[in-house]
């Protein structure tokens, strides 16, 4: 793995991207013992505005805390995809929610499409777990953090009541990743 | 060291009225509103209890004095 990995989770406010970023950073930083920084960029509106959560993971001390060139991009809206795909590394991975993102530019063998929101709604009856399924897919595809670490991080950051459903959502994400990989 | 006397004391058998002339600013409130006209102004407008025998010790002069310059009664004290 690269010394420094830069992950950008993008979409709109209310999709739980900031929480997803926190969970990813906690998995890397606390449970995998690496260095990690999570930051975000958001507009003034609490819901609906453009939202971007960034995570930098490294084996060494992290100087610049923001994404310079994205290694892993999650896009949960078309706008976010259009905007942030430009900053994707040449060999960077793109995971887009095909329910919403219908036009994906520069499809490469590292582009993955999956109807994440739709699956969340179908399997769990709520779109709220879209972020956790996405995390499961990302971890399954990239091994950016260990599966044990992300499981622990999810459990520590979601409310006790929602623990079970989120754990299931994460596992579903892992399985989706497996399918996506075999398809390639 | 000789201390300056702060109050000028006026008294008869039943009442003692003290005036702290250095703090008095001659506003005239005590004189005007004394119900028994006990006080008269001196040449600077500061109160002198000329009719002290008429005093009923209501204390209104003391209560209304903005400068704590007049007192009816008061506590005896050695060091000042």
């Amino acid at each position: 793995m690269k010394e420094r990995l830069e992950i950008c989770l993008s979409g709109s406010g209310g999709q739980g991207l900031i929480l997803a970023g926190i969970i990813l950073a906690e998995a890397a930083g606390i449970y995998d013992g690496k260095e990690a920084v999570q930051s975000q960029s958001y507009g003034p509106e609490a819901r609906g505005g453009a939202s971007r959560s960034e995570v930098v993971i490294s084996n060494n001390t992290i100087d610049y805390p923001k994404v310079m060139k994205t290694d892993i991009l999650l896009a949960l809206t078309q706008t976010a995809c259009d905007k942030y795909v430009k900053n994707l590394n040449e060999d960077g991975i793109l995971l887009a929610d095909s329910t919403i993102v219908t036009e994906v530019p520069n499809i490469s063998n590292k582009t993955y499409l999956f109807p994440i929101t739709e699956t969340a709604q179908k399997k769990f009856g709520t779109k709220l777990v879209t972020n956790i399924i996405s995390l499961g897919i990302i971890v399954g595809l990239t091994k950016v953090v260990s599966q044990e670490a992300i499981q622990k991080a999810v459990c520590s950051r979601v409310p006790v009541k929602a623990k079970e459903v989120n754990e299931k959502a994460l596992l579903l994400g892992f399985n989706i990743a497996k399918d996506l990989r075999t398809k390639k | 060291m000789k201390q300056k006397k702060l109050f000028e004391v006026y008294q008869n058998n039943s009442v003692k009225i003290s005036v702290r002339r250095e703090w008095c600013k001659s506003c005239g409130i005590c004189i005007e509103f004394c119900p028994k006209d006990v006080l008269v102004p001196d040449d600077q407008g500061k109160p002198i209890p000329e009719n002290i025998d008429a005093c009923i010790k209501c204390g209104l002069c003391e209560l209304r004095c903005p400068d704590f310059a007049i007192t009816v009664g008061g506590v005896e004290e050695k060091d000042e």
Binding site: - | W23, K25, L63, R64, P66, E80
Partner: protein
């Protein structure tokens, strides 16, 4: 010779800086006499003021005293009271200080019902800066910034405090100094936010611009424009015009802010967690 007053003042600060006949000194006397009757320990009293002639009061009393910024005495006092609820905190303000620049703090202190006593010396003008009109200058009266007469409607500070939730609200005058002192005493003794407005005179700024040449003229005017609650109730609406009612308006028992916060501490500690 020594008076009650002498036990509570910083003598080196006297004679005070106020103009001859200024009501500030009368209110200062009323406050001190009230405290003396309550037999409070001077070490436990904190007096806080803002800016203006009346705010100089804190310099004259031998307590822990704080002459703060314009309009902000109440929030400073709120911090002191929150930190040490056992301290007895008195806040002295002028009318401009309390109702204009400090108006927001005033209603919020009342809303919280924080255990402070606010004494507002209302001389209906900004005295220190030269007689500009304040939110309590009566409509039609003159000020250096109201050379053609004041068109603003005035606040009724007592009603404002009542509406905002104060536990004790009263109004006195410097003319009725004895009554004012007893209203202040009751306010000081009251748990919760207590307010006493004292109608006062400013012979130099207000008096001169409104055809009252001397302190005596002003006190007579105050006597004329104020009526007791009993008299007030018998007046017609027309007769009430231009008059101010004095006396006690609110005296209720309501849990004060520090007491309520004790509940928060208890709740937070029972919930445990990060005790640090």
């Amino acid at each position: 010779m020594k008076t009650i007053i002498d036990n509570y003042i910083r003598k080196e600060m006297f004679p005070n800086i106020w103009c001859p006949g200024c009501g500030n000194g009368i209110v200062l006397g009323a406050i001190i006499r009230a405290i003396d009757e309550l037999k409070w320990d001077k070490n436990e009293i904190v007096a806080v003021s803002g800016i203006g002639c009346s705010s100089r009061i804190t310099g004259y009393v031998d307590f822990c005293t704080m002459n703060t910024t314009h309009g902000r005495a109440l929030p400073f006092a709120t911090g002191i009271k929150m930190a040490k609820p056992d301290l007895k905190v008195i806040v002295v303000m002028g009318d401009g200080d309390c109702s204009a620049i400090g108006g927001n703090h005033f209603i919020h202190a009342a809303r919280r019902n924080i255990d402070l006593t606010a004494i507002i010396i209302n001389n209906m003008i900004y005295g220190m800066t030269g007689g500009q009109y304040s939110p309590l200058t009566p409509t039609g009266k003159f000020g250096s910034t109201a050379p053609y007469g004041n068109i603003d409607q005035t606040f009724d500070l007592a009603e404002l405090a009542t509406a905002a939730g104060a536990s004790y609200v009263a109004r006195g005058t410097v003319y009725n100094a004895r009554q004012s002192s007893s209203l202040i005493k009751k306010a000081l003794d009251k748990k919760g936010f207590s307010v006493v407005e004292i109608i006062s005179d400013c012979p130099i700024s207000y008096g001169k611009m409104n055809k009252m040449k001397s302190p005596v003229d002003m006190l007579k005017w105050i006597k004329d424009i104020t009526v007791s609650k009993k008299v007030w109730e018998a007046l017609s609406e027309e007769e009430k015009e231009g008059k101010l009612v004095t006396g006690e308006f609110v005296n209720i028992d309501r849990m004060d802010y520090s007491e309520k916060y004790k509940g928060i501490i208890k709740k937070a500690q029972e919930m445990g967690g990060n005790k640090q």
